[in-house]
Symmetry: C2
Subunit: 298 residues, 2 copies
């Protein structure tokens, strides 16, 4: 080793006491305790910059495109004509960045409870937060639960880009919140929500989806890959007032839109809704059949 000696600095994330993921850190870029949580941005050795809330990895620059493309483009290409979107959480700006790629979007309201997240990402994650100054965006620093309870606007999509159901995001997994969010949606409205790990968190997924069930005509789950959430594979809930994510999906619309994406494409759109047998079994009775491409395969 001819290199000078560097500090051997690592950030460590615990998962349920039996699994730890450690990322080598070059330096800390941001560190501040907000009224809600500890916010840190670090420069890692292998995953670009990383945002952590209370020591839990929220996103890395290396893989955030997957999460943000999948939370945004899946519902945007299912809703017949999405113009108005409500984002709950999502303070890093990645979801808004993807939503704004759709030329039909007229208005986005983003309600983030913690201004420190927004400030940290504006300062240190410019490739993620780059659309936060889009004139179509109204950015509100406010509790999303309170906003939804008093809101009188109608939206085409509600995107719940939240942390886990511990800490400030807990009420975003409750029945009352889903009922109020559903009430803001038009007849083709869709609510997409961060839905944890199908491998590690089935005990969170079932109750969360059951809390959405009464307020939507269709309920589905879709999967995507991450590098920084425990177990890699992660999920979003897809709760719809009307459109089916597969039958009402037209790949030609994706081709015509010509968006620059690195993960999302029509094949991935459909594939994401194909669930492993153990996930189907765990959520039997909660999720709706897809009716595509076969009469519900086993």
């Amino acid at each position: 080793m001819s290199e000078p000696c560097h500090l051997n600095l690592w950030v460590r994330e615990d998962h349920k006491g039996f699994l730890e993921t450690h990322y080598r850190v070059e330096k800390t870029l941001f560190s501040e305790k907000s009224p809600f949580q500890q916010i840190d941005v670090v420069e890692t050795a292998g995953l670009g910059r990383m945002l952590l809330n209370d020591g839990i990895v929220m996103l890395s620059e290396r893989d955030e495109f997957v999460y943000h493309e999948m939370i945004a483009h899946v519902p945007l290409f299912v809703h017949p004509n999405p113009r108005r979107v409500l984002v709950i959480g999502g303070g890093d700006g990645g979801s808004v960045r993807e939503i704004m790629k759709h030329s039909g979007i007229e208005r986005v309201v983003m309600v983030e409870i913690d201004e420190v997240v927004v400030r940290a990402c504006r300062a240190h994650m410019p490739d993620v937060s780059c659309a936060l100054d889009d004139p179509r965006l109204e950015l509100r620093i406010q509790d999303g639960v309170h906003y939804v309870a008093q809101c009188r606007e109608t939206f085409d999509l509600v995107i719940v880009d939240s942390t886990d159901p511990i800490g400030p995001a807990t009420p975003l997994f409750n029945r009352d919140f889903y009922q109020q969010a559903a009430a803001l949606l038009g007849p083709d409205g869709i609510l997409v929500s961060q839905a944890e790990s199908p491998f590690y968190d089935p005990e969170l997924q079932g109750p969360m989806l059951r809390n959405q069930r009464p307020f939507f005509a269709r309920l589905h789950l879709y999967l995507f890959s991450t590098l920084t959430y425990p177990g890699g594979t992660w999920s979003f809930g897809f709760a719809s007032k009307g459109p089916c994510p597969l039958v009402d999906f037209d790949p030609q619309r994706v081709a015509a839109a010509g968006l620059a994406t690195r993960y999302y494409n029509p094949g991935i759109h459909r594939a994401a809704f194909m669930l492993p047998t153990f996930v189907r079994d765990t959520l039997a009775g909660v999720l709706d059949p897809l009716g595509w491409p076969d009469p519900e395969p086993r």
Copy 2:
């Protein structure tokens, strides 16, 4: 804490110096240095028993069903009438366990270089190694490269269930090996091979697939979820002398077979071949178009 004080024992896996995954270990069950590698079986706190070769996680009881179902059932349900299968590596027995679920299988030859892997898994992973005494299996402790070079049998499938292209498995990623393996396959023959991480290992995937390219009519890649390989999402190469993994796939065959699977089903079969845009771009010119379900979507 009223519990007695336990040894705080962890196994640590390094990935390229920037990422470490640590698993809490209850106890070590097996530890032996073979002529090829160090073999360990540990009882973990969250993932059941775990096999490590040279400190690299090979499998855990908690997620091994995904890898083994996907390496076996995907080609077995694409080949029109698979009866004879050659497995290179796979000493834990998981792939053989899944292959033997197919009633049409008449003969499986498994060629594992390291008898210590087989012995460790027979002793400590009975749910994985349970089919190693199936009378249809010929288990050979031999170098797979040498076996393939001198073999005069014909097979319907070759399954390369290997470790990474470092250590004893390195020649299994070479052009000569693929040429000789392809020569053992009948006209509908398929070779499936462990193909690393699409996120972390594109520099391994390209050369590996290019080495297969000259000897097969169709070359594809398919994805699956793991809990214990870096980044979670992992891949198999699918090299075929004839059948297309989607057009020649009949979900009714899966339904008729009625196999007990926890991950694999017809939806997952098709979904696995839908690749993220960045993977397609990275492997453009190497992989064949799928022609399903649309004219190759973007």
